[in-house]
Amino acid sequence: MTSPPGNSTEIDSSRADFTPVTDKALAALPLERGAASSVALEGITKSYGPVTAIRDLTLEARAGEFLVLLGPSGCGKTTALRLVAGLEDPTSGTVRIGGRVVNDVDAKDRDVAMVFQSYALYPHLSVGRNIEFPLRARQVPASQRRQLVATVAESLRLEQLLDRKPAQLSGGQRQRVALARAIVRRPRAFLMDEPLSNLDAQLRVQMRAELVELHTRVDITILYVTHDQVEAMTMGQRIAILNEGVLQQLDTPEAVYRRPANAFVAGFVGSPPMNILRGRAVAEDDALWVAVPGGRVGLSPPLVRAVEDRALREVVVGLRPEALSLDPNGTIAAAVSLVELVGHEQHVALRLPGGQLVWIRMGSEAPRMRTGQDVRIAATGTVHLFDPQTGNLIEVGNE
């Protein structure tokens, strides 16, 4: 996976400090190849009275896929997950698991496992009994239950904790118990609702890697809900981005980053976010420019064609922070507003004359800038052209 610079470094660092799950135990996991099923939502709408949480949503996680549902809070992604689990009924549309319509199948018979944001561990049961619970619910014989619990506990390094109560565990341990409880019974799909959001930053990076590791070694379908675009980018094979109950884009992390379907996706994925600038198309110095506050942005031939074909007067352009750089001869004037040093790089927020903030990404070796300092910037990377009315992507121009 070739990821943009900011994210690839994060993947590498997370993989480096992560203790791999023992191979032997994983090989013995009770999950058979082929147990994983596809999960599909077809034309799903979910309303609560006058409020529509999800509008005509169609998406499919293929069997064995790691699909991430990404979006801001309240976008309907958790509702989508609960619809798959059977904890909510769709107002209209079809839910399929493994090709079979499950609209009328009760949650307990859908054979999916869910990891809740709160982990939802049974507080009165020991870790061992927690993991065993789904097997008990399915009347698996006791001897087999013990064996399965022991195997899963070993693979998730929980053997020492089996007699503890959830209250006696750390956040990371609880997280692993929740995973163990989900994995122990070979479900058709894993539904995960922000499972890492209650962990501290360091542990989150580690668990991220462990989950990806688990997915690459065992054939499981994972539907993973998060509002954290870094989690989505680093973990998902594909990402479905939702906003206000509507699917914005469903594609690989790379495609979502390089060709965001619209200005919302462009602004949501990537940190710092893509800079969206609104301006007028102007012909100056024998070329077509976009006049923005503080200066102008040049357009590459494909973008010029796109603007001319549509006879656009107003233009919306998007520039990733790495597509802008400081340049004494740059075409845009701005003032330094904020400098964030994040170790290997700096994120600098610049204020344009109109008041809008623009982020640029710089190496950590570049000299620190003073707040208030006047600078000039140049567009040196990819420019995304968006429709000024709909916000949809028109064209991506590479310099």
Partner: protein, 308 residues
């Protein structure tokens, strides 16, 4: 916190003794009012009652009572009258407490549904809290009246001996009235406990494949267990002390079939002026309840789950 510790340490070095003493003095001062109240209204009567048990009451008023030591205790506690009324009381508690808790949980589960108009049912279910034992008893006394009672009519016992006049049905009937009267209280407690069971635990159990019965047994009941424990203790004590409904419905009859310990005690003390006998019953009741409560604590200790 650290700063406070240091400050206290410095203070203690200057005046090593005075501070703890003064603190203790203040503490006793604060406890004193409660101690006095308890002493006058609880401890003194308790001791005095136990003491009264050493005396037999005179056959007629204004005659001196006789000191008999432990003889009266031995005689009363081994008498068939006492053992019979104790057994009836145990039966009464066994009829009322478990049934009350089961019904309370059942109604709380029903009223916990998200349905239109459910508040009306919540109000109805909890309404008996606002009903005194006397009112409840009078209502049922009328309903069970052999001549005009609606319940008697439905039970096909019109005319002749009514339910309350039947030696086999009087105690169950009184028990039903008691259950009815306590249901509101149990319902409110169980509803409160039920609301504190997190939804996502029940949802997790559902996704884990648990049937509604398993969810109830393995998730809901354990999380309700502190409240079940509390209700059991309070219910057993309340059951042993039931008086009002007996007094209004049956006065211990027919033929002593609803003569519970406390009613026996009341009759001995205030009807027959047999103070010594009643004192022995009081002490016995106290001892029995103390023992039962300890036993319940011991029984529930390993079975109750307290969330941290």
């Amino acid at each position: 916190m650290g700063a406070r510790h240091r400050a206290r340490g410095a203070h203690a070095r200057q005046r090593p003794q005075s501070r703890p003493l003064r603190k203790a003095g203040a503490a006793y001062l604060f406890v004193l009012p409660a101690l006095v109240a308890f002493g006058v209204f609880v401890f003194y009567p308790l001791v005095k009652t136990a003491y009264l048990g050493f005396f037999t009451s005179p056959p007629a008023p204004n005659l001196p009572s006789h000191y008999v030591g432990l003889t009266q205790y031995r005689a009363v506690l081994s008498s068939s009258d006492f053992l019979d009324s104790l057994w009836r009381t145990v039966q009464f508690v066994l009829y009322t407490v478990p049934a009350g808790i089961v019904l309370g949980i059942g109604l709380a589960m029903l009223a916990n549904q998200r349905l239109a108009g459910i508040r009306i049912f919540r109000t109805i279910y909890s309404s008996t809290v606002a009903t005194s034992a006397a009112v409840a008893a009078v209502i049922f006394f009328t309903l069970l009246n052999p001549q005009v009672g609606l319940l008697s009519y439905w039970l096909g016992r019109k005319g002749g001996s009514g339910v309350l006049q039947s030696s086999s049905l009087a105690l169950p009937a009184v028990s039903v009235v008691t259950i009815w009267q306590n249901i509101g209280f149990t319902f409110i407690l169980m509803s409160a406990a039920l609301q504190s069971v997190p939804d996502d635990l029940l949802e997790a159990a559902r996704v884990d494949g648990a049937s509604s019965w398993l969810r109830f047994r393995s998730v809901t009941i354990p999380l309700l267990s502190p409240m079940i424990f509390f209700t059991t203790i309070v219910g057993v004590i309340g059951g042993f002390q039931s008086f009002g409904q007996i007094d209004i419905l049956t006065q211990g009859g027919p033929n002593n079939h609803t003569l519970l310990l406390i009613y026996d005690l009341y009759q001995q003390a205030f009807k027959y002026d047999n103070t010594g006998y009643a004192a022995v019953l009081s002490v016995a009741l106290f001892g029995i309840l103390l023992l039962l409560t300890f036993m319940q604590f011991w029984f529930f200790q390993r079975r109750v789950f307290y969330a941290r």
